[in-house]
């Protein structure tokens, strides 16, 4: 009789792994705070459970460099940058027409992003916006994913003030990094808008054309046209100011969307691992990986959309 294999393993091994999993689940439940509440202290060894997680929102300083305090999220961002640069170098060092596995994985990712840029922004604009969008996407995504590697939250160090702080922290969870990226996106939107449309781009916000035109009407004696035009002129000015305000609010919204998602995810992981130690974490790891990818996509996709809107010629122009 041929040996029966499920999922590539002999059936006995699969059953053994499942039993081990259920055992760890039960032990973890009993030893964590939930089990301790329900069943009381069962006398299980203390090394099986985790201490209560302390959550710090502002990133703690690890050391000082030329007078600047370097926080643990900056070290996380440096690690991401090092990983991205090393990956890019390794992949492009020996590029072949028929790519190997790593090269084809990145070709797939970059090709997909390039198609997205072209689909949203058109042929030539897509080419122009592709570097900004892809950089933001890769930076945010790798920041989010690298902070899930085991060991990222476990290394402690005593800093200059004598506090016992984490050495590494995901850069997305420090509010300064999403703010920086949002400002970069804002600056690029304005830059591309000004470069494509010239100073007429600012005419979107200071829409006084209709207003002055109506004053011209009034001066020439056409009173009714002048008054009606002045009324619409006021509305145009108001809408222009509202557009300018919404550009500013966009920065705040980008920042808090990314920061909130990443911090909430980190807190969720900490609490879940504290509540049921040992085996429940992989489920939430999957959720965190998905959230990291989706947030990166949202940030870069929204940047792309706003870039496209900024370089679009307006439909109606006052003659």
């Amino acid at each position: 009789m041929a040996k029966r294999r499920i999922l590539g393993m002999p059936r006995l091994l699969l059953v053994g792994i499942l039993v081990l999993f259920v055992l760890l689940l039960i032990v973890g439940f009993l030893v964590g705070p939930l089990g301790r509440k329900i069943f009381g202290d069962l006398g299980l060894p203390a090394w099986l459970s985790l201490p209560q997680p302390e959550l710090h929102l502002p990133a703690e300083t690890v050391f000082h460099l030329f007078g600047f305090p370097i926080a643990n999220s900056i070290i996380g961002a440096w690690i991401t940058m090092a990983v991205l640069i090393c990956l890019s170098y390794i992949i492009t060092r020996r590029m072949r027409i028929i790519p190997g596995r790593l090269q084809s994985a990145f070709e797939f990712l970059l090709g997909w992003l390039y198609d997205l840029c072209r689909r949203v922004a058109g042929e030539e604009n897509g080419r122009r916006f592709f570097p900004v969008v892809t950089t933001i996407f890769l930076f945010v995504a790798f920041n989010a994913w690298l902070s899930l590697i085991p060991g990222f939250g476990s290394i402690f160090i005593t800093n200059a003030e004598g506090e016992h702080v984490h050495l590494l922290r995901g850069a997305n969870t420090d509010i300064n990094m999403p703010l920086a990226l949002a400002l970069v996106s804002f600056v690029f939107v304005e830059y591309f808008g000004l470069r494509s449309l010239g100073l007429r781009y600012l005419g979107k916000f200071l829409n006084v054309g209709q207003f002055f035109q109506s004053i011209g009407h009034m001066a020439k004696g056409r009173l009714r046209a002048g008054l009606g035009g002045m009324f619409t002129g006021f509305i145009h000015i108001f809408v222009g100011l509202l557009e300018a305000l919404s550009e500013m609010v966009r920065v705040v919204s980008f920042t808090f969307r990314l920061f909130g998602n990443m911090t909430a995810g980190e807190i969720l992981l900490l609490i879940v691992v504290f509540l049921i130690p040992w085996v429940v974490a992989p489920l939430f790891y999957g959720l965190e990986m998905l959230v990291g990818f989706v947030q990166a996509l949202i940030f870069s996709g929204l940047t792309l959309v706003f870039l496209t809107l900024a370089v679009a010629h307006h439909g109606e122009e006052s003659s």
Partner: protein, 76 residues
């Protein structure tokens, strides 16, 4: 009522009520997305992409409420 109790009440209410709206919103987005897919199964690619995009917008609002709750709980 002492400040500790009020703070706990505030945190709970902020998180609970604040996340009510986005939950409803995401449900409505899913409803319309599924209707669209049911009418035109070939367009399910673009529909899914747009659904995820709008869902992230909606979720951001809920995250704002969560941030306020976290700040209330940990910093204030």
């Amino acid at each position: 009522m002492d400040p500790e109790t009020m703070k706990m009440l505030a945190v709970g209410l902020t998180a609970g009520l604040g996340l009510l709206g986005p939950a409803l919103g995401i449900g409505l987005i899913g409803y319309s997305a599924l209707q669209g897919i049911a009418r035109n199964p070939e367009a399910s690619g673009p529909i899914m992409t747009n659904m995820i995009l709008v869902t992230a917008f909606c979720e951001a609002i809920g995250i704002y409420a969560l941030i306020v709750a976290i700040i209330l709980a940990l910093i204030v």
